[in-house]
């Protein structure tokens, strides 16, 4: 029975000199990591973990910047049988106090035995551990891992198929309380069917700028290539966002064939890349670009294709998928022989009857793009509030069942129990419909905003806004508004204060913008401070997000 460790060792025995990861860093030559080097360096980490008393099944949290050490440290954890979990590192805009609070939440629920980090972060980490009386947690610093001592026998080889291989967290303090625990078996099952969907071969070359702490980057662009003998070229998301042309240059340089991207990146690249940065760039090798992790938009595909077709981009390269960390990564994938199916549905039937009826009689319609069909081993149902099945074209919640489902939310039996219907059907929290076997995603049941591919919890933003002086306690609301130009949602925060003075409201709005930006994963522009009694609450006293969104659109956003 294979485990991550046995597969890595096998690749190393069969093709030790094959390059599996190429690391790109601005201002430095590209660095190739072969299987032999990966195993050797990961073994050093594994030995260091073992010497410090890390045991099989312990959780190891990795807080590391983009680079080689992250890759060695991650695979070192695998080799010693530990459960790695990546956490985003502190960026320059984020407040260290908030980051520390997030870390505390993460420690609380994942109970790590150790944390691996980079030298500059060591102090903040140790202070946090001390404050939380968690001095028992071992700290590993990348510049202090002895180069000798990688053993031949790895505890990771003794892991059973059903043992947990890794944890994935989504961002934000709410997301950190919920680690998705995936077994070796679930991940191998997923890679078997997903590799088939995308027709993965060892000749493929994956190009990625995605962070490894999200499923799209971690599974599709890190674990899949290494476990399946495919090369991946990795650049940092921080460098990509400042120089998006680099991904296209890398596709050209390495004859890249596969990429995964969130929808907004199509608009972003089309608007911000200049031809002078694409001299001699050819995108002819690019066979599949999978848009996933935020709602897919036909408009964004068109904008991107029109902008880059003269560089060899093909229309059929642009594909779609729908997935979630709980199913390892993908749940559906478009058939590569076709371009994603697009249809217009009647707006009124959709809103009032929750039925996706094909548009008729020139009435107002909504354009929907398919996310393809369920991957092999994953089944879909669409259910109503009571969990009963709905017919084709009816909009309800997707429930899925698969051979690659999460084992649990780590240490959270309460959340795990709530996530499932009977007989192993997982409730995704996403709304949509099925037609002709194709999956169309329409929205979310859970109040999660997806901003540029990042999951953001409105309740986190609301409580942050309440922390700003002058804001009426408990009277803030956050929601997303779709921005057509950016191809993603934009966050709106409305906060009440006890004054109708516009000048004072503007000052508080600015304070909220700064405070929320420094204390969350996103940057907030649209903040509206209003006078008393603007915000609508439900009869039970909860903030009614959708009602407040409607009110905001009617009062402030019309004509934007």
């Amino acid at each position: 029975m294979p485990t991550f460790s046995s597969v890595l060792i096998e690749h190393c025995q069969q093709t030790p000199h094959r390059v599996t990861v190429t690391i790109q860093k601005s201002g430095e030559p590209d660095y190739d990591i072969t299987y032999a080097e990966l195993l050797e360096r990961a073994a050093e980490y594994s030995a260091a973990y073992l010497r410090a008393g890390i045991k099989s099944g312990d959780v190891l949290i990795l807080i590391l910047q983009h680079g080689r050490e992250l890759i060695y440290a991650y695979w070192g954890a695998i080799l010693c049988g530990a459960i790695p979990s990546l956490m985003p590192f502190l960026t320059e805009k984020l407040s260290p106090e908030r980051y520390r609070a997030d870390l505390t939440a993460l420690f609380e629920h994942s109970q790590p035995a150790g944390v691996v980090t980079y030298p500059e972060f060591q102090q903040l980490l140790r202070e946090t551990l001390e404050k939380n009386k968690r001095e028992d947690v071992r700290v590993f610093v990348t510049d202090n891992i002895p180069v000798e001592g990688g053993g031949e026998s790895f505890a990771g080889l003794q892991r059973a198929e059903e043992d947990i291989a890794l944890l994935q967290h989504s961002s934000g303090s709410t997301g950190l309380q919920k680690g998705v625990a995936l077994s070796h078996r679930a991940i191998f099952n997923h890679l078997d069917s997903y590799a088939e969907s995308i027709r993965l071969t060892p000749e493929d070359v994956i190009i990625s700028w995605l962070p490894l702490y999200h499923d799209m980057g971690l599974i599709a662009c890190f674990l899949m290539p290494i476990l399946r003998g495919v090369r991946v070229v990795l650049m940092s998301p921080f460098e990509w966002v400042r120089a998006p042309y680099r991904m296209l240059q890398s596709i050209s340089k390495y004859k890249g064939t596969l990429t995964w991207v969130p929808n907004f990146s199509y608009n972003f690249c089309a608007q911000k890349i200049r031809d002078r940065d694409l001299e001699d760039v050819s995108l002819a090798s690019w066979r599949v670009s999978v848009s996933t992790s935020e709602p897919v938009r036909f408009e964004s595909h068109k904008i991107f294709y029109e902008r880059f077709k003269s560089f060899g981009l093909r229309w059929e390269t642009l594909q779609t998928s729908y997935g979630m960390a709980e199913n390892v990564f993908a749940a559906s994938q478009n058939d590569l022989d076709k371009t994603p199916y697009v249809e217009n549905i009647d707006r009124e039937s959709y809103v009032t009857e929750k039925v996706a009826r094909p548009a008729f009689d020139d009435r107002p319609s909504i354009s929907m793009m398919s996310c393809g069909r369920p991957i092999r081993g994953t089944s879909f149902r669409v259910v109503d509030e009571s969990g009963a099945d709905l017919p084709e074209r009816s909009v309800g919640e997707f429930a899925i069942k698969s051979n690659c489902m999460l084992t649990e939310y780590y240490n959270r039996p309460d959340l795990t129990a709530k996530a499932f219907l009977s007989e192993g059907w997982y409730l995704t929290g996403d709304y949509g419909y099925l037609f002709n076997g194709e999956v169309f995603v329409a929205g979310r049941k859970k109040d999660i905003l997806i901003i540029g591919g990042k999951n953001v919890y409105p309740q986190d933003l609301e409580s942050l806004a309440c922390e700003v002086e002058g804001v009426h306690p408990g009277r803030t609301v956050a929601f997303g508004l779709f921005d057509e130009q950016q191809g993603t949602e934009e966050v709106v925060i409305v906060a009440e204060m006890d004054s109708d003075d516009p000048a004072r409201q503007e000052i508080i709005a600015d304070e909220i913008r700064k405070y929320v930006t420094k204390n969350s994963a996103i940057a907030v522009r649209r903040v509206h401070v209003v006078g008393p009694k603007w915000i609508l609450k439900t009869t039970s006293g909860k903030i009614a997000r959708s009602a407040n969104k409607e009110k905001y659109i009617a009062e402030f956003a019309a004509g934007d």
Partner: protein, 84 residues
């Protein structure tokens, strides 16, 4: 072009195009990057604006707070490069 004029043009671009709050007053010593005023997704817009309007190129590896964080620092950088 004087530092004051450069600051004024930069500020106008930032408040209207990046922040979409035309009435917002930016202090010239305000921390734009570490203060969370400019989002990482907008840094490239600022670099392209500088290039188009002042004929100075800021490399993508320089788009961080160690190169500039405030309007004053950015305009000083522009002037020093224009002089070369």
């Amino acid at each position: 072009m004087t530092i004051e004029l450069i600051n004024q043009k930069l500020a106008e671009f930032i408040v209207t195009k990046i922040l979409a709050q035309p009435k917002r007053i930016l202090r010239t010593d305000e921390a734009l990057i570490t203060g969370g005023v400019i989002d990482s997704f907008s840094l490239i817009d600022l670099a392209l604006f500088v290039e188009d309007n002042f004929g100075v190129r800021i490399a993508d590896s320089e788009l961080n707070s160690s190169t500039f964080d405030s309007l004053d620092q950015l305009s000083a950088l522009i002037v020093s490069r224009q002089a070369k």
